[in-house]
């Protein structure tokens, strides 16, 4: 089952121009099996999500992208997002308490004309980031990162034995589905998504390039 695990919509993320219903239609058109809305610091209302999913007969899931001192984290299964800028360790405790999953989003995203790989970052030094000790997986395939940045994330994933997920980080319709997470088993509910993320039965991939 192919899911874009990292999507922002204008419904809850002011920086996005992506309409949720247009996102669903586009996801169907390009052949995704589901999308996961991960807004900045805000969670979708479960009923709204279900209504939308039923209307379009399309699997929809929800997580949240949280800003921390150590970068952006994708959180699944946490109903109350701590206000402000939480410390990753505190967030980890909260996620564990809720039985959720925590993923480092686009860990090596760089700038317009250069990235961390261009600054001669070695794999050894890249692996030392504190946050990698706290997460369940890395977003090794990000639609907003360069191939070099994603390659470095994959190498770190392999060396640290962290699982890899993929997500587009789409803010516009043309960005949807650039990267995806391919799950080995069908995901029918939010609980299934979290269970499968914990089990590790998935891989990250590029989808729409």
């Amino acid at each position: 089952m192919i899911i874009d695990l990292h999507v922002h919509t204008k419904a809850l993320s002011p920086c996005s121009s992506l309409d949720p219903e247009e996102a669903i239609q586009e996801a169907k058109r390009i052949g995704l099996d589901g999308i996961c809305f991960t807004e900045h610091g805000k969670l979708w209302d479960a009923q709204d999500l279900e209504r939308l999913s039923n209307k379009w007969h399309f699997p929809l899931f929800c997580g949240v992208e949280v800003e921390t001192r150590d970068g952006h984290l994708l959180i699944f299964g946490l109903d109350n997002i701590p206000p402000g800028i939480p410390a990753p360790a505190d967030l980890r405790k909260a996620v564990d308490g809720a039985g959720g999953v925590m993923i480092a989003a686009h860990p090596f995203r760089g700038f317009l004309l250069f990235g961390f790989a261009d600054l001669s970052m070695t794999l050894e030094s890249a692996c030392k980031r504190r946050v990698f000790q706290l997460v369940d997986a890395l977003e090794t395939h990000s639609g907003k990162s360069t191939k070099k940045e994603n390659d470095l994330a994959q190498a770190v994933g392999q060396k640290t034995s962290l699982k890899s997920v993929g997500g587009s980080d789409a803010h516009t319709i043309s960005e949807l589905g650039r990267c995806v997470t391919v799950f080995a088993h069908p995901i029918k509910s939010q609980a299934d998504l979290i269970a499968e993320l914990k089990r590790g039965n998935f891989r990250a991939d590029y989808f729409r390039r």
Binding site: D70, G84, L113, S120
Partner: protein, 164 residues
């Protein structure tokens, strides 16, 4: 006509012998003068130390915000840095002018490492220049629509379809 107000802001990044960057930003204006200096660890782009001073301000209360600067130590210059700095140094309990100087420092770090790849592109002329930009565009999805030069309809976007 005399000026009613003047502001002069200067920021710079210089390479240290140990390979890290020393970054400075200073502002001088009619009622305010301040400086921020920080060391940024390379290649992580992590702020390893910071110092600041408010030399002149309208109310003495501003100077009490200087200790807040230490909260940026350990932050990595990258996506989200604006929000983090404004949250830790600016905001209702802080000093947005000081936060602004920290962000000016961060911008110098980014521009410092932008000069080299940009210099390579700009050493080319005519069609070669266009091709060099297009190569960067195909490699980095973030460049697309980042400004008018890389927006739809720009000659630098020819042959590069954001939909593909």
């Amino acid at each position: 006509m005399l000026l009613s107000y003047a502001r002069n802001k200067h920021a710079s990044a210089s390479d240290r012998p140990d390979g890290d960057l020393l970054v400075k930003a200073a502002v001088q204006e009619t009622f305010f003068a301040a400086k921020v200096e920080m060391v940024v660890k390379i290649p992580d782009l992590e702020i390893s130390s910071v110092e600041g001073v408010i030399e002149r301000c309208f109310t003495g209360e501003c100077r009490q915000t200087i200790p807040l600067l230490q909260q940026v130590v350990g932050l990595r210059i990258g996506s989200g840095i604006i929000k983090l700095v404004n949250n830790f140094v600016g905001g209702p309990h802080g000093c947005p002018r000081l936060a602004d100087l920290v962000l000016e420092c961060c911008e110098q770090v980014i521009l410092r490492y932008t000069v080299e790849p940009l210099g390579e592109i700009l050493s080319k002329k005519g069609n070669e220049l266009k091709t060099a930009y297009q190569e960067f565009l195909t490699q980095n999805p973030r460049l697309i629509n980042s400004c008018i030069a890389f927006a739809e309809g720009s000659p630098l976007r020819e042959g590069i379809d954001a939909e593909s």
